[in-house]
């Protein structure tokens, strides 16, 4: 095989593409993964980070619900360094119909989800942030998951099994012979050069952008872009996931994650052209705040860290204007059967929770097309980071008396923390104080984790994701990147892009403490550093 020939080309570096690449490479295939941006830039990094139990879909979409609970239990084993097993409540407020609760519990049981009805008083004791007026509560096995970490772990493992990763490379066309897709044409955004790669099968795993990818092959999938807006709060107000026990609607899930919590979502149909640049509107902020405060009243006085929005890659089934009634189920399309185009498969629909199963389905089809007979092992093979024991155990294995940055690194990387050199005090100097990210961890990411810029670095290390939203850590990290790559000039403009990316999530909610923080950051960057729109 030549350098540009592969068994399978996977388009999309989100969780679906990453999971599919891992599965394919574990089954011995030679894999190329192409992403036009960075990993986890689409819906993968723009959701609640909810480890669904499936309960949310139990009443309306039983298949999705049972897929969710199975994957939930698998992820708790194979990705424990990405998962926080918080448990979840479905609460009934006085304005909701308590009659829905029994229907809900029945549906959960039918889907294999453990649902336990609680006395509301008991629920309040267990989760003091919950609205004290609740008239019903059900416990389900929800949790939270770090989607960046999860995506990265799949990428790291795929790479370890021979997958070639091309980031910032966009598919601009398919190479076709008659009705068969033979490969793809790629535009490298860093160099501006185009090149060609060949494989007997190409998997379209590009999320909502998969609509456009299919069009390049002359195929119409009929996707439905549904924008979902969310808010991150600066404190972890709840320890347990809080959902509304009613038909899925706006702003009815509050998920704790690390030191923060996230409320969401909304659901609005948006044109495809807007998918690359989602802005959260004041109306969405108001709605999320007022509905969120019904779940946990303290939210109305909690500082908001950031607003963001993602686009769900739903596949249309009817004319539902909100997209709420479209199944969240997995859609696997064999374009040979569906459209008469050979060598192309699309994997879409689904959710973060079911990414592994989506990868399994897609890989099964790829293997069938290639005549490869290998079993899927992703359900039983832990991801890098979760290969040895719990976090305490891992931490003790490396260091007798772990320092704070060492503990933080283990928290993020699990057993992969051994790849970070943290012995030297220099490596332990903190780059990001909010998230306790050390110079050693930043340098490790720069060296090994396909980092092109500061925003990539944030997705891999969490720098700039804490309460200050990247005030000084961004500048420190920019300097480390400039030194490692010897590119001070480029790093300066990279720093500007990073600050703008942070600001995008801040200005929709910039009042109170958030505005104060922004004013300080602006004073530092413009007033002290003298950086302005000309940079």
């Amino acid at each position: 095989m030549k350098g540009n020939e592969f068994d399978v080309i996977i388009i999309g570096g989100g969780i679906t593409g990453a999971g599919t690449a891992r599965d394919c490479s574990l089954r011995g295939l030679k894999v190329l993964l192409i992403e036009r941006n960075d990993i986890a830039t689409g819906a993968t990094g723009r959701n609640h980070g909810l480890l669904h139990s499936g309960a949310r879909y139990a009443v309306t979409d039983k298949d999705s619900a049972s897929e969710c609970i199975k994957e939930n239990m698998i992820l708790k084993k194979i990705a424990r360094h990405c998962v926080d097993d918080t448990g979840g409540f479905f609460i009934t407020l006085p304005e909701d119909d308590l009659g829905y609760q029994s229907k809900f519990v029945e549906a959960c049981k039918a889907a294999g989800i453990n649902a336990e009805v609680l006395d509301p008083k008991e629920a309040i004791l267990e989760e003091p942030s919950v609205n004290p007026d609740i008239i019903g509560a059900v416990r389900v096995p929800d949790g939270s998951v770090d989607p960046f970490r999860l995506c990265l772990s799949n990428i790291v493992d795929a790479k370890a099994h021979g997958t070639k990763i091309l980031l910032y490379s966009e598919v601009v066309g398919f190479i076709k012979e008659g009705d068969t897709v033979k490969g793809v044409k790629i535009l490298d955004h860093a160099t501006g050069l185009t090149s060609e790669y060949y494989a007997p099968v190409t998997v379209n795993a590009a999320g909502i952008w998969g609509h456009h990818i299919a069009e390049l092959a002359g195929i119409r999938i009929g996707m439905y872009p549904a924008k979902g807006a969310l808010l991150i709060f600066a404190h972890r107000v709840n320890g347990i996931v809080i959902n509304r026990c009613r038909k899925p609607a706006n702003a009815d899930i509050l998920v704790p994650g690390d030191t923060v919590c996230v409320i969401g979502t909304t659901s609005t149909h948006v044109p495809f052209e807007e998918c690359d640049n989602m802005h959260v509107t004041p109306d969405e902020v108001d709605l999320l705040l007022s509905e969120g405060a019904k779940l946990a009243p303290v939210l109305s006085s909690t500082r908001i860290l950031r607003a963001y929005a993602g686009v769900r890659p739903l596949v249309s089934a009817d004319d539902d204007p909100t997209g709420r009634n479209i199944s969240r189920g997995i859609v696997l399309l064999d374009h040979e059967k569906r459209d008469g185009v050979k060598g192309l498969v699309s994997i879409t629909g689904g959710k973060l929770m079911t990414y592994r199963l989506m990868g399994e389905w897609a890989t099964n089809l790829v293997c069938k097309k290639l005549g490869v007979d290998k079993k899927c092992v992703t359900a039983v093979t832990p991801l890098p980071g979760s290969e040895t024991g719990g976090l305490e155990e891992v931490s003790k294995k490396f260091w007798t008396n772990p320092s704070t940055p060492q503990k933080a690194t283990v928290g993020r990387l699990g057993d992969q923390a051994s790849s970070v050199f943290l012995e030297d005090e220099y490596d332990q100097s903190l780059v990001c104080e909010c998230e306790e990210v050390s110079a050693g961890e930043v340098n490790q990411a720069i060296a090994n984790l396909e980092v092109h810029n500061l925003v990539d670095l944030r997705r891999r290390t969490r720098i700039g994701m804490g309460t200050c939203q990247g005030e000084l850590c961004a500048c420190r990290a920019a300097c480390l990147l400039a030194k490692a790559r010897n590119c001070a000039e480029e790093e300066k403009s990279d720093l500007c892009s990073f600050m703008n990316e942070r600001w995008k999530g801040m200005y929709p909610i910039a009042w109170g403490e958030t505005l104060r923080e922004s004013a300080y950051t602006q004073w530092v960057y413009s007033g002290v550093f003298g950086m302005n729109e000309n940079n």
Binding site: S403, A478, C479, A488, W503
Partner: protein, 418 residues
């Protein structure tokens, strides 16, 4: 407790106003909540470098006439501004702070990110160049402390390379600074400066730098020396032997912290009382006069005075507070000039002009605060809380802070004489 003047806010403006008044025999108190802009200053003062429409200004005093009528400079008046600008360096000199610069034309300083920023005056540490990208030498050695992440030697070296010098980067590691690294958050400017205030450590550092010099004619160091006394800067320059320049670091700013401390000392030396770590929470107003204010620490004990000066700063210092619906001044609920529609507060580009930074308290021609449209006769407003200017954008924060303080001090003293 009764004073002649109570100043709310211990930043640059409050201190300058307090020193001016105390020197003239006024019994003054400054109530300071804590950190202010001096702590993260660039070590320079700006008078005016850009007009609200974006035009760059090289001769600030000549451009004042082009500002809007409600700009604090226009309220104070062009002639007064020129007079005050001429007084500034002398005023600071008397407080033990040496400033250098030029009233007629802005110069430029190299910033922590290696950018060139216009400046009117600079503290001793920071060099003002008459032109952008002035070549400082043939060969430049940029030296940093090992493990100190808040000085961007790569960016700084890049700036000097662009101006035609060849640059080399080195780090120094001293036993005394090594101790700081045992705690991962300790390697920050103030801690380093504190360690280097010890003379033997300072000369050890100078020796270490000297050993690193090969054929360089200029040494560039982070501005983390002389926390208590700028004399350290001269000692270093003399010991290193070649031309030595300092470039600012990420906050906190050592030149800024030192300036704040010397101003506070000058204020207290002139007989003023500085209440550190206290916060004015409200005041009683009757018949267009403030009668008293109360603070967190003093509880029910009211502070009374003939005159009050509000120098409480902008959003960062909580002089102004924004809620989703409005922007307000929390102590007296004064009239605030701001845009009602929140979507107009921001530009989506972080580095462009942000209109919210131009919000402030409305004043009359004597810088009396307005409340409900009426002037409060004994309440004056100075510094970054003033309406009529986006100080960050226009590069006039220090100028407004200092000149409004001089102007108010003059008004208050003049009133007494009459």
């Amino acid at each position: 407790m009764k004073y002649d003047t109570i100043i709310i806010g211990g930043g640059l403006s409050g201190l300058v106003c307090g020193i001016s008044l105390a020197k003239r025999g006024s019994k003054c108190v400054i109530v300071s909540a804590g950190q202010n802009a001096l702590n993260f200053s660039s070590g320079t003062f700006g008078l005016l470098s850009r007009l609200p429409d974006g035009r760059q200004i090289t001769s600030p005093l000549e451009a004042i006439g082009e500002l809007d009528e409600n700009h604090p400079y226009r309220i104070i008046g062009e002639d007064k501004i020129s007079e005050y600008a001429g007084m500034t360096a002398g005023f600071f000199e008397e407080c033990g702070i040496k400033l250098h610069g030029n009233n007629d034309a802005n110069g430029y300083v190299v910033t922590p990110t290696g950018d060139y920023k216009p400046a009117w005056l600079a503290m001793e540490d920071i060099t003002i160049f008459p032109e952008k990208q002035e070549k400082i030498g043939e060969k430049v050695l940029v030296v940093n402390f090992k493990g100190y992440l808040d000085f961007n030697s790569a960016f700084v070296a890049n700036a000097f390379e662009k101006s035609g010098s060849s640059c080399r980067m080195e780090t120094v590691s001293l036993e005394a600074t090594e101790r700081l690294r045992r705690n991962p958050t300790e390697m920050r400017a103030v801690n380093i400066a504190r360690v280097l205030d010890n003379e033997s450590v300072l000369s050890e550092f100078a020796e270490a730098v000297k050993k690193l010099i090969k054929d360089e004619d200029v040494v560039v160091l982070p501005a983390v020396f002389g926390l208590n006394n700028a004399a350290s800067l001269d000692i270093l320059k003399n010991n290193i032997g070649v031309k030595t320049l300092f470039v600012g670091t990420m906050p906190p700013s050592i030149p800024g912290v030192r300036t704040q401390m010397l101003l506070k000392r000058a204020f207290e030396g002139a007989g003023g009382t500085f209440l550190m770590g206290d916060e004015v929470t409200g005041g009683e107003i009757s018949g267009h006069r403030v009668l008293n204010v109360k603070t967190v620490n003093l509880g029910e004990v009211m502070l009374e005075a003939d005159n009050f000066v509000l120098s409480s700063g902008n959003f960062f210092s909580k002089g102004l507070i924004a809620s989703p619906e409005k922007v307000y001044e929390p102590v007296f609920d004064l009239d605030v000039d701001y845009l009602k529609d929140r979507s107009l507060w921001y530009d989506q580009d972080f580095f462009r002009k942000q209109d919210y930074m131009g919000f402030g308290v409305k004043v009359d021609s004597s810088l009396h605060a307005l409340k409900g449209g009426d002037a409060i006769d004994n309440l004056y407003v100075t510094g970054s809380i003033l309406a009529g200017t986006n100080q960050l954008y226009e590069g006039c924060g220090a100028g407004v802070a200092i000149f409004s303080a001089f102007y108010v001090a003059d008004s208050i003293s003049g009133k007494k004489e009459n």
